[in-house]
Symmetry: C2
Subunit: 740 residues, 2 copies
């Protein structure tokens, strides 16, 4: 039974709203209010600034309903999937439920009111803030609520509140499920899965519980059990031999079994049914080959060996390639399967196999994980902590405990979820938490108890791993992102980014025409994160673009140059991280898609789902097998010694035969063969380093050239690097726009 909701706000908890508007559930108070006011979209120009006051008032949802009567022994309940963030439920003006935490569903029993009309209200407190000002992410440091909405370098200040999950009145029969849960454990050689089913029910004499496991390909029953449904708690253990194993898409199939549990009454009629899909896989973090002999040698005093960060799935080590994932909308309640499906399809087509669901953002709805299961995308799921010092206070820990248990119970059936993590960058000085922080020990405990066989990281980065950089050109070290990574030696690069402008049509949509050109460090360009979002010049980095390319004349040229640099920069990092395999085991860029249309940022895809040109370069770099070149830098000039080093990168579980690789420099019509290489055969999941070319660049007469690394007879392995060339006749002085 759906409900009609009205929404109003007031300055204090106990004052009554003066105005009531229609509310959409699931949604957010901000969306309702903007709709009622007829405002333009929040993502245009500086519209989102209007919403600032909404986080500081008390919101009330109300509805009147005639409570339908259940059958004898049945119940009728108000059931809600989640309210963001701190709230009370009132029945005819009396508080019947209070809660802090957006992820934990709740129910209010209305059975005693059956046949009557009641008023149900949900009173939502202002957004939680640990201090009144300044308006920044630290205000979220006592809440299990996405810190991103408090202001981030890619997210405006806009803190969602309200009924973001479905809510309805539901009538249940006397014979019904209360909770249904199943877990499994694969044996050491993966030849059998022990399945545990655990249900709490409202029992009935003569009733039976039926449990079926259906095969991946359809409705064929592979396991079936029935037991008397005579007790409140029922549990059953069974074994499935030779389960088909779930793999990420680049390593195998995605078989998904279906659990069906039914409650049958004494007459054999089905009174309740639950159905959900699962998959069987074993995920581990393991040492890379040779890691145990690090630190090298017999040097004393001797430290520990670094923690493992190589993903092993079903006994096979994988190189993880992917992106950081943030909620693709400012308002997570609007994210559904239709919104997610094209994005995740695109992630798969980018040859990504892992998405890191970052702790600064809201945890995705079920559809995300169902799609990840279907598409063979692995998920690293963080709890909702990021870049803050979350306290050891018992009240906060109680919220973390409840919310994390909810998330663990909900997500552990998804084979795609291969890694739990406490949150983002908590062990760095901008956060200030450490290994002793109770919230992280609590999360480890809950993961251990509820999903012990999926690995847990307290945060990212931990020892050996590293985050950043987020530039193409680093002012501090005066180096490009390629050389920064060629000098680095991390075990996993789990965040790095190169800025890129949004597509021109996106810019036209979000920026007022009068602000569009030239970009200025103020107004909508700034509000949409092109300036002063991190350093003064980020994320548009005009000064860097002009350093490389001189003056820029048009919006189209700006976008093209910026996305070219982004694409080549990221390609270089992904391929370098892969060259560092097996020590390096992960490369995850920041980020896939943005939660609103930034004018410039680090994402590969513009909001809502428009790929930047840079996405293709990343997709090429993440092919399971490719010919690759290690190149010292992006921009070249006549007389420079150009010395790319050839590689074959192979993440496949199959060996590579000997191949004929050749590198050619192409500039306009000119073609310079650089080096040919007959590679040796390569073992599975193993790269091969080839020769280094030596070529002194002549005057090429163009402003860019292509290094084409091809493989005879295997065009799909070819890589093309488009590099910048500074012609001698080109004026050396810059004409900076003085913007960043």
């Amino acid at each position: 039974m759906q409900l009609d909701w009205q929404l109003g706000h007031a300055a204090t908890r106990d004052s009554v709203p003066e105005r009531w508007i229609q509310a959409a559930v699931p949604g957010a108070v901000q969306l309702d209010w903007a709709r009622a006011e007829g405002w333009p979209p929040y993502w245009q120009a500086e519209e989102s600034k209007r919403y600032r006051w909404m986080e500081d008032v008390w919101w009330t949802y109300r509805t009147r309903l005639a409570v339908p009567p259940p059958e004898a022994g049945g119940v009728v309940r108000f059931e809600c999937g989640g309210v963001d963030y701190q709230f009370a439920v009132l029945l005819d003006g009396r508080v019947v439920h209070e809660q802090e935490g957006m992820n934990t569903a709740f129910a209010v029993d209305l059975t005693a009111h059956a046949g009557r009309t009641v008023e149900l209200a949900i009173r939502v407190a202002p957004a939680p803030k640990s201090r009144p000002s300044p308006d920044d992410r630290a205000q979220a440091n006592h809440a299990f609520k996405p810190a991103v909405s408090y202001d981030w370098d890619f997210h405006p200040r806009l803190v969602p509140l309200g009924l973001w999950q479905p809510a309805a009145v539901v009538v249940h029969p006397a014979l019904r499920f209360e909770t249904v849960d199943s877990t499994y454990r694969l044996n050491d050689n993966l030849s059998a899965a022990t399945l545990d089913l655990c249900c709490t029910i409202a029992p009935q004499p003569g009733a039976r519980l039926q449990w079926q496991l259906l095969a991946p390909e359809g409705e064929r029953v592979v396991l079936e059990r029935e037991l008397p449904a005579a007790a409140r708690e029922l549990s059953w253990r069974d074994e499935l031999t030779w389960p088909e194993l779930w793999w990420p898409h680049d390593h195998g199939a995605q078989p998904r079994y279906t659990h069906v549990v039914r409650l049958l009454d004494a007459q054999g009629a089905v009174r309740a049914e639950r159905r959900w899909r699962t998959g069987f896989r074993r995920a581990r973090l393991v040492q890379y080959p040779g890691q145990w002999s690090t630190p090298a040698g017999n040097q004393f005093p001797k430290p520990r060996t670094e923690p493992p960060i190589t993903l092993e799935l079903n006994g096979r080590r994988l190189f993880a390639k992917g992106s950081n994932w943030v909620c693709p909308e400012i308002f997570p309640g609007t994210v559904d399967r239709a919104r997610l499906a094209p994005l995740l399809q695109l992630a798969r087509e980018t040859n990504f196999n892992l998405l890191r669901c970052w702790g600064g953002a809201a945890v995705m709805p079920e559809a995300f994980f169902e799609l990840a299961d279907e598409l063979g995308l692995m998920v690293w799921q963080e709890f909702t902590l990021a870049c803050n010092c979350y306290p050891d206070a018992p009240a906060y820990l109680a919220v973390v405990d409840r919310e994390s248990r909810t998330l663990l119970r909900r997500l552990r059936a998804h084979p795609s979820v291969v890694l739990w993590c406490g949150g983002n960058e908590l062990f760095n000085n901008w956060s200030g938490m450490d290994d002793q922080s109770l919230a992280l020990r609590l999360l480890d405990r809950n993961c251990y108890e509820l999903d012990p066989l999926t690995p847990f990281l307290p945060t990212s980065p931990v020892g050996g791993m590293a985050h950043g950089h987020y530039v193409f050109w680093d002012h501090e070290t005066e180096r490009e992102v390629w050389s920064l990574f060629q000098q680095a030696g991390a075990t996993a690069y789990t965040e790095f980014g190169v800025p890129g402008a949004a597509n021109a049509d996106v810019l036209r949509r979000i920026l007022p025409a009068e602000e569009l050109w030239p970009p200025r460090a103020e107004g909508s360009w700034k509000h949409h994160h092109a300036f002063a979002s991190w350093t003064p010049g980020h994320h548009l980095c005009l000064a860097v673009l002009e350093r490389y390319f001189g003056a820029i004349d048009s919006l189209e040229q700006l976008v093209a140059l910026s996305q070219w640099m982004q694409g080549e920069g990221l390609r270089g990092v992904f391929e370098e991280a892969r060259r560092q395999k097996p020590r390096a085991a992960m490369a995850l860029n920041w980020c896939f898609v943005e939660p609103w249309p930034a004018a410039a940022n680090l994402s590969l895809v513009c909001w809502p789902a428009e790929p930047k040109a840079s996405l293709a370069a990343v997709a090429a770099a993440c092919r399971p097998v490719l010919a690759s070149a290690k190149i010292a830098r992006f921009q070249w000039a006549p007389g420079d010694a150009f010395e790319p080093e050839l590689w074959l990168l192979n993440d496949r579980p199959e060996p590579l035969p000997s191949l004929a690789v050749e590198a050619v420099l192409e500039a306009g019509e000119k073609r310079f063969p650089l080096v040919a290489w007959r590679s040796p055969a390569a073992a599975s999941d193993t790269n091969i380093r080839g020769p280094r070319a030596h070529f002194v660049l002549p005057e090429l007469g163009v402003d860019r050239f292509t290094l084409r690394v091809g493989v005879v007879g295997r065009p799909e392995l070819e890589s093309c690097y488009v590099l910048s060339f500074r012609r001698t006749e080109q004026p050396a002085e810059h004409r900076p726009m003085n913007l960043g």
Copy 2:
């Protein structure tokens, strides 16, 4: 009611022993059998080799007893504090209890047999082994049993088994305690402690529970509560304002409060009483000042900041100085207060404030922790895992779970226990566990649940920390231990050692007269760890001694030179670690006292309790305040530039005034003033680096000289370093004994 025990052994579980001997409880089967056989002490010569077979047979303890009848409603039980290691309890031939794990006490209810005579038997399985051979520590890698007894470089192969804890038949009244537990939590400013008491009882109508907290100085009641003892579970919360805080001895007093809980019957008579002492302190691991700015600079990709390892007690950072602690007996059941008190008194007199109870050894009995509480010695307590890869197997985890809960409940009331740790060196390649190992996640979970405010380390070393070296002279790097540490940069040196021979009288006691001189790499010298215990030459290191001193002519000379080197080596490491404060926060040598009389090892005290000469040097290095010198090496020659750098080391919470420091070189009757320094005033807990002396060594005409660093008017701060001098007339060639 004490019991008379008989003991026998058989080859299989179900065969009956052929011979029964008298058994002492608590004790060990080995001690009983040796006594019955009249063997010489196991620590003489190679006697301990005789015991090898005892670990592979089934041992049975038996006793006959007339079960005394309890009062109406009362119970009579067989209660045992612990059996080592896997065992069954049989009552008249029927198994009534089975258990794996030596630490968890158990009880068998005999009430139904009151008035009858029964036979009680405890059948102890052979020592657990994960594989039959070779005989090494890896056999213990599926057990929560000290790995040390399976053979270590300071411990012979000798695996204790049997009733190592007291066992008795106890008659309980109807009104009685089953469990009694209390915890506390200090508030942020340490001005109040919230105390929780939780009891399970056998209740009685009209009965009352009385809870008193007595002040440290005596029987003055500071808190008193009574509640009806009418339910099985009783809990109570109360608050103590301004509790006197417990400190380690070098920082304050050791106030210990006494809990008294009593059950009073309806007539007001005390029917049961429990009494135990506790202390209030807040222990944390915190970053050192400046640690959050590491890794330094704005370098990307950026790793995490290293984990904190600086102990903070009651809000004050402490430099931890101490030793690793191993059980001082091969048979832990023989360790009592009388055995421990002089050792712990000695540790305090050595200026130690922290003992690391190492995971390879048995957890100490209550007396150890009571003494540590009394004496103000902090304890780092590890669970029983060391240098092995303990499995993720559910059966093993169940034992770890039970045993660790037992230990946590038992020890958490002791203010001295400031740090829990999963075990020793588990994250190094000789062990092979890592951050994902389930046993360590389980231990973290149990510590979080049962003692969340005491810090937890998964193992030692973790990131930033380091173990070793265990030599004076390192063959690999051709450097002395001083320079190894002067180059190191760990956050905590939680194991390091320098070998030293045992005292001459100890050697005479343990080695047969015919083997005593010269030492040979065989027989009793070898069996007592002087040779081949780690490298072929360890721990006597004759070749190193001869490298420095030439041929050695007598046992007395050998001992003197070896202990001199050990003392100066360790003094140099302790003082260097302190000079590295605040980055370095701990210096814990390996080890304090050995579990049996080694002929040479790394300990400071010979078994049972005889200090080596080196102990005095360590005690001097660990004074809270001292004048110190950083010296490049131990041995010098004419013409060398001797350039000690002066320091004042201050671990006190008070500042140091300006002091007049002077360094003088003394050689026989000669006296060379090197440098005088008027130090600036120093802040509390802060070292000061002074000038470096420059002195070209003349021919001194002696084989050793003293660097005396004195402080005018403060003789207690003076340090004297005794250094080796190689006279020019001394023959350069060595006369090695060719032993190691």
